[in-house]
Amino acid sequence: MIPTRPGLVRQIVAVIHKDLLVEWRGQARLLAMGTYAVTLLLLFSFAVGPDTKTLQQHAAGYVWLALLSASTMTLTQSFRVETEAGALEALLMLPVDHRAIYFGKALANTALLVVLACLVMPVAAVLFDLSAAEGLYWLLPPIVLGAAGLAGPGTLYAALTARVAAQQLMLPLLLFPLIVPALVAAVKSTSLVLQGDPMGQMSSWLIVLASFDLIFWSLSGLLFAKVVEE
């Protein structure tokens, strides 16, 4: 009997499993990224000065900039492991839908960024004396949607720059201008959770973030096959 090819969802799950397993076996890397992000938070405080009020007001911005900075490492890493020893070519030769590779890797990267955010947030809360005015669970939508906003186009660009020698430079150069809307919306919505949201603006920022994710995840899913075939 010829084994049937698993459906798209099962392929995606398999790719996520593979990526997260690779990440799990190299836990030191995740720890290093967390430490890097926390170090950035400390540096922001030193650059701004020890004024608790100012730090508190800008905390959401610092957290997201730290995550953004650390995310370029996760993203480059997710394709570095693939280009080593021609792993990507082997993956492409399998009867796997190329969209499954993209969505699998992008979801795995989103998950990693969410984990990273969960490591960084408590530290920021201690450093900047934060409290979630709108309830702690409200932090989850901006974090998940924001992480997806970075990981979606980020995964495509990591694939795009995987064979460029100066990838560490090229990835942020290409990615950062593009994700400005996601950054603005993620910072605003996170800030509203932390500072309180008397005007009820939270939902509109989350809609901006969700629309951004929708546009760029679909576009990336559409174009990824072209990028890896080359």
Binding site: L173, V180, F212, K226, E230
Partner: protein, 232 residues
């Protein structure tokens, strides 16, 4: 003479006429006085920059769909001309903003979007310079051009929500009639000049890409030497 040279000359003539009228014939702008005359340079630059980026987007879709090097050369030429106009636009804007708003820069949505647009498309040029394999470079720059173009409205609306200050778009309907003619003339002049530059740049890019295709196994510089018979 090649067709684009005629277009370029026509553009130059129209720009001269438009700016002569704009500077000496048209009345000073009601609110801004003579400072407002930068309108005749600034508004055409903005329009044409967007048109040129649109050309780059269409070329990127064509390049990705067909894989033909003519489209890829058009991506290179349009993005490059677009970036030049984009930087010019930012410079004019800053020059105009200082006497009008009292600052060179403000976080207005259109300004911010224009700046982000500039860095995005400069990214395309950097990416092209970094990639040596022609097929890979064509795909990567086409994909990134599509992303950069699609992101322009998204960036605009997100920043607009973030903060707003700029006056509504200038169009012939919002401008008084003695100012319309020089504006239109200057805009067409700018457009023809951009077409001229894109066509010249396209020929250059196409010639270079053809060279690479003839010797795909060598890096571009070495390929050029071999074809010219200068190498071993």
């Amino acid at each position: 003479m090649k067709w684009e040279n005629w277009v370029g000359l026509l553009g130059l003539a129209l720009i001269s006429v438009g700016h002569y009228q704009g500077l000496f014939v048209a009345p000073p702008e009601a609110m801004m006085g003579d400072v407002g005359r930068i309108l005749y340079a600034h508004v055409p630059t903005a329009w044409v920059a967007l048109v040129v980026y649109l050309v780059a987007f269409v070329a990127a879709v064509g390049s990705l769909g067909s894989g033909k090097r003519g489209w890829d050369a058009l991506v290179e030429s349009a993005v490059e001309v677009g970036v030049v106009l984009n930087l010019l636009l930012l410079f004019q804007g800053a020059v105009w903003a200082k006497p009008t708003w009292g600052v060179f820069w403000t976080w207005d949505p259109r300004l911010t979007t224009t700046a982000i647009m500039a860095v995005s498309f400069i990214g395309v040029l950097v990416l092209r310079a970094m990639l040596n394999r022609p097929a890979q470079r064509a795909v990567a720059s086409a994909v990134y051009t599509i992303f950069a173009f699609v992101s322009v409205p998204v960036v605009y609306f997100s920043v607009k929500w973030w903060k707003t200050l700029h006056q509504p778009f200038s169009s012939p309907e919002t401008v008084d009639s003695p100012m319309v003619t020089p504006l239109r003339v200057a805009a067409f002049g700018m457009l023809f000049l951009a077409v001229f530059l894109m066509a010249r740049r396209w020929r250059l890019a196409y010639a270079k890409l053809s060279r690479e295709d003839e010797a795909p196994d060598l890096p571009p510089a070495a390929a050029a030497i071999r074809l010219e018979g200068g190498g071993a």
